[in-house]
């Protein structure tokens, strides 16, 4: 349970971090922010990076603001920051709804939003939320800055299209329109455990009809994605039990669930169905 040896780097600026990572990336150099996923993997020696580049002393990564109707989240913003009121509007309400479901109180005081995106665990709540909100991931390297659409970002379970020398410095996402309704539901066997599946939803109701529906499913497949079949079932429908059941059925049918020793595909599909329906119902409360 002791990590393998590594060389430690503590840059004070984004450019310095990029320079160091560019030098050490080919020797399995890794960024560490909160370390709440990487440190356990190192304890198990599933990860044995030869270099750790610690970005915790880079104050420029603290940004958490809404600018030009887009929410900007810097790489040092920890989960616990997303308390009610931290971000205005329905986007902030949704972040505050999701946040308490991440791990536990202590981990949330250290782990980061961007770190979750970089780690790309299939059951990451933030990855599912970034997917719902059509986020852009801002990757920085000595070659410059690259903006990656979230749809092109995930590449499998715990795998992304980031290059080894790129640092996620920020995530940016358009904020939800005023009046948008949101819901979140996840199921896990124990408090704080990895979710078997989760649904995050957002929609508006205009003249008694659902408009701009979004349904993001996490935990079920190797990475989260918007389920357009479920969104189509909602679009233009009255926000009632029948529409929610149709959307939930569509989501359950659309996913290609991961299987493991505890959870077969049919069970996970059922959880997707229930999570979608409950997320939608919550949005109406």
């Amino acid at each position: 349970m002791k990590p393998a040896p590594f060389t430690y780097h503590r840059p004070l600026s984004i450019d310095e971090a990029a320079r160091i990572l560019s030098d050490v990336a080919e020797h399995d150099g890794r960024i560490i922010a909160g370390g709440q996923s990487l440190a356990p993997m190192m304890a198990f020696r599933v990860a044995r990076p030869h270099h750790l580049v610690d970005i915790n002393e880079i104050a420029a990564l603290d940004v958490l603001t809404i600018e030009d109707a887009a929410l900007r989240i810097g790489a040092r913003v920890r989960h616990a920051r997303f308390i009610p009121g931290a971000i205005a509007g329905p986007t902030g309400e949704l972040f505050a709804k999701v946040m308490p479901n991440i791990a536990n109180y202590s981990v949330r005081s250290r782990g980061t939003f961007c770190g979750s995106l970089a780690h790309a665990d299939p059951a990451s709540e933030w990855c599912a939320l970034a997917t719902l909100l059509d986020a852009e991931i801002i990757a920085h390297s000595v070659r410059g800055e690259r903006r990656i659409d979230v749809r092109d970002y995930f590449d499998g379970a715990m795998s992304t299209t980031l290059a080894p020398d790129e640092i996620v410095i920020e995530a940016r996402m358009p904020v939800l329109r005023e009046g948008t309704r949101t819901g979140f539901y996840e199921f896990s066997r124990r408090k704080g455990d990895f979710a078997i599946a989760m649904a995050i939803v957002a929609f508006s109701v205009e003249n008694g009809r659902i408009t701009s529906p979004r349904v993001s499913i996490g935990g079920a497949e190797p990475y989260p994605r918007r389920i357009h079949e479920a969104e189509a079932a909602l679009d233009g429908a009255a926000p009632d039990a029948a529409a929610f059941a149709a959307a939930a059925d569509a989501a359950a049918a659309a996913v290609d669930p991961m299987e493991d020793a505890m959870t077969d595909a049919a069970y996970r599909r059922d959880i997707v169905r229930a999570a979608t329906r409950r997320g939608l119902e919550q949005a109406m409360q």
Binding site: M1, A4, T7, P40, N56, P100, S106, V107, R110
Partner: protein
Amino acid sequence: MTKHTIQLTINDQTRTISIDARKTLLDALREDCNLTGAHAGCEHGVCGACTVIVEGEPVRSCLMFAVQAQGKTIRTVEGLAQGSALHPMQKAFTEQHAVQCGYCTPGFLMLTVAALEKTPHMDDEALREVVASNLCRCTGYENILAAVRIAADDMRRRP
């Protein structure tokens, strides 16, 4: 491997230690500072027995490398009591029988003290949520909650 010389302020005392980068804060506290109050349980961030307070935040010290704590202010269970006067949380844990084997206790104390110092007024649901962060395998959660409720009142009454 290069040794890193770091300075930590632990329970109001400044300490300078020399450690490998891979040494966790937990191991540095226990082995290099002779502070064995923070316990090594799972050593991968699940159980919370190693919880200490870093810059006012509860932190699993097995998930932080000591080198990352350079210049930081740390509080461990050894610093909770003032001389022979127990901290309200320690007192309540004792009186409510929130301790059975005691292995998880230092982690629970530091977790709940940090949470209540940050947010003095927490409803019962929030307190349950905080306590759910750490594992007690003597199944003492109800007693732990009873202790935390009493200590929360006590802490609010003190300056």
